[in-house]
């Protein structure tokens, strides 16, 4: 027992000896003005833009019950003026008083990044908020290395032309309408846009859930979201086993605007850490309109001049520099990728508002959701005409390309004919057929929430649709037919599905098998 005590004391002595007590010159400033999460500081010469600052709360307002860590608050220098520094406070600003001391840290604002973050809920500064304890770099390593966590700067210049490769692999969202008509590639930025309550988040969550068993790490960034909504999403992800490959970054509605402002950049920095290891990452920014609001608030308090809709002049650059960081790296850099799914909320379907147009122009396509379609029962409420993916079929497997090629066109033609056919019932045979096919196509593309479908199943059902196997099923029975078809394929024709998955192509051999399977199912299916 006593030897153990001696050992501990020896260890302590060694540690204490190892501490350097040299005196360093530090730059300090004093708070001149504070309010609404923004502080004006005098002094602090040589401070860098977006450098971390440390506010030391004075003795009077930091009561003795606080620990040392609570006596300091972090901040970030944003405005460097002639003899003042404008800084935003990351955390509770109400305890900071005029005259408090501010130290510069010499570090650009950065987040700790580690593998251990996967499966956790963190705030934009990288600390855990899910009550499961602090995130340490590596638990199995020795105590001494515990504190050595890697840090990634929150703002980083996006990879250049040389570092990139064209997008060529798909991210399977598990949503038929998207995977078939608006394919998303690894390294792409696909905007999800629509009014409130049209299922924007649902699409992103389905895409995350569908990555179970795939090699993509997902990061869901909640910006200014209701904590209840975030809690629901986390619970849903857990229920579907998707938390094992997901990190949730939360800046809640009650957190300071500064948190909402840095959250997407923090999420992106965490994603870049995995991308640099050659992994594939999917980041969902939910949503960037709230991010723009948070930035507008900070900018206005910093007295930067307001522009259109009171947004500051650099609001475009705010989002473009974030979304440019999604990339598919070339093979020399590990071939990792960062796919971004930014979400933007429109007001009454107005896509020509300031923020939506900005973001539409930066992204490689958009998924446009409409409340009209949503209330008609077409869910996901995708507007096929307005939704595009600029990467296109380069990000589809061959089998999907073959079955989905004509789908978009068929659907567009159906929309036109449908409007036309409402005037009279005298239609020629061909038109009538086209309308019937269109109705069934719409039915097949409907899909319930939290039910992503594997790509091989999608190929099978879309093949049945495009080859006219569903034409004789009643429209209202199509979804029932489809559900049973998937069950049937899984139980009796699993090897065909596996073959599609393996070869990723529809060879003649597979087509033959698929035809046989569909015909076999049609024989036993009764409405």
């Amino acid at each position: 027992m006593s030897s153990q005590k001696d050992y501990i004391i020896e260890q302590l002595k060694k540690q204490i000896e190892g501490i350097k007590t040299e005196t360093k010159t530090e730059k300090v400033g004093t708070v001149v003005e504070i309010g609404d999460g923004v502080a004006k500081i005098s002094g602090l010469s040589n401070v860098m833009v977006s450098e971390m600052l440390q506010f030391t709360l004075s003795r009077t307002n930091a009561d003795s019950t606080r620990t040392d860590a609570e006596k300091t608050v972090l901040g970030v220098a944003l405005n460097l003026e002639e003899d003042q520094v404008g800084a935003m406070v990351l955390g509770e600003y109400k305890n900071i008083k005029e005259g408090d001391e501010v130290k510069s840290t010499g570090k650009i604002l950065s987040v700790p990044v580690t593998e251990k973050m996967i499966g956790r809920v963190v705030n934009p500064l990288g600390s855990a908020v899910d009550g499961k304890g602090a995130i340490t770099a590596n638990k199995d390593e020795s105590e001494a290395n515990k504190s050595e966590c890697e840090y990634y700067p929150i703002e980083k210049i996006a990879p250049g032309v040389i570092a990139r490769k064209s997008v060529h692999q798909p991210v399977q969202t598990g949503i038929k309408a998207i995977d078939a008509m608006i394919p998303i590639g690894r390294g792409q930025r696909e905007l999800i846009i629509g009014d409130r309550q049209t299922g924007k988040t649902a699409i992103a969550i389905d895409a995350i859930i569908n990555q179970s068993g795939e090699d993509i790490i997902c990061i869901y960034v909640a910006i200014g979201q209701k904590e209840s909504k975030v809690a629901r999403i986390v619970a849903e992800l857990k229920k579907n086993g998707a938390m094992d490959h997901t990190i949730v970054v939360v800046a809640g509605a009650s957190d300071p605007a500064t948190f909402s402002f840095i959250a997407p950049y923090a999420g992106c920095a965490i994603g870049e850490y995995f991308m640099d290891q050659g992994k594939d990452v999917l980041v969902v920014y939910d949503d960037l309109s709230k991010h723009a609001w948070a930035y507008r608030q900070i900018s206005l308090i910093l007295k930067r001049p307001p522009g259109r809709e009171a947004y500051p002049g650099d609001i475009f650059y705010l989002h473009s520099r974030l979304l440019e960081r999604s990339a598919k790296l070339n093979d020399d850099l590990g071939g990792g990728s960062l796919t971004a799914l930014p979400i933007v909320e429109t007001q009454a379907g107005d896509v020509s508002a300031y923020i939506p147009t900005n973001i539409i122009s930066i992204t490689d396509g958009q998924i446009y959701l409409e409340s009209d379609l949503f209330y008609k029962g077409i869910r996901p409420a995708l507007n096929v005409g307005l939704s595009v993916s600029r990467v296109g079929s380069a990000a589809q497997i061959k089998a999907m390309k073959k079955v989905a090629g004509k789908l978009r066109l068929d659907l567009a033609q159906f929309r036109e004919l449908e409007a036309f056919a409402q005037f009279g019932s005298d239609l020629d045979e061909k038109t009538r057929k086209q309308i019937e096919r269109g109705k069934r196509t719409v039915e097949v593309l409907k899909q319930a929430q939290y039910e992503p479908i594997p790509v091989e199943n999608q190929v099978a059902v879309l093949y049945a649709l495009t080859q006219g196997y569903i034409d004789d099923i009643k429209t209202e029975k199509v979804s029932d037919w489809e559900r049973n078809f998937h069950k049937y394929m899984k139980s009796t024709h699993k090897e065909t599905l596996d073959l599609i998955k393996k070869e990723q192509d529809l060879s003649d051999k597979i087509i033959k098998k698929l035809k046989k399977a569909i015909e076999g199912f049609k024989e036993i299916y009764t409405e």
Binding site: I16, T21, T23, G43, S45, D68
Partner: protein, 133 residues
């Protein structure tokens, strides 16, 4: 265009440089009238402060604040002064001694916005931080 306090102070410094005492007092009156015309009398304090800064900078004077647990003895003050003089390459150092028992021992030197914490309390805090890790 608004003239800042710093610009006023710089102008005053440039005007008064190398003038006799009589000339200066005449200048000051004119300067004050000019301030009144521009409605800047309220920023007099600020201008004086800035003038001090410019004066000190031009003449190599440094104002240093030294915090210690007990009042500095003469020899200690001299040593500190010569150290600061050397460090900042100044001609003259004006020392302001503040006594704060909370720092326990050692001294803290503040010059402008630079601070050197050589206090016992500061060292203890560092020890605490590194032990906690």
């Amino acid at each position: 265009m608004k003239v800042s306090a710093k610009q006023y102070a710089q102008a005053l410094y440039d005007l008064t440089g190398g003038k006799s005492e009589v000339d200066v007092s005449g200048l000051i009156i004119k300067f004050a009238e000019e301030l009144k015309k521009g409605g800047q009398l309220k920023s007099t304090d600020e201008i004086i402060e800035k003038f001090n800064e410019i004066w000190n900078e031009q003449n190599g004077i440094i104002e240093a604040e030294v915090v210690s647990a007990r009042e500095l003895e003469n020899s200690q003050a001299c040593k500190t002064k010569s150290y600061i003089k050397e460090k900042y390459k100044a001609k003259k150092v004006v020392l302001k001694n503040i006594v704060d028992e909370n720092i326990k021992g050692g001294i803290i030197i503040k010059v402008g916005d630079e601070i050197m914490d050589g206090s016992v309390a500061g060292k203890l805090r560092k020890l605490k931080e590194s032990l906690r890790k």
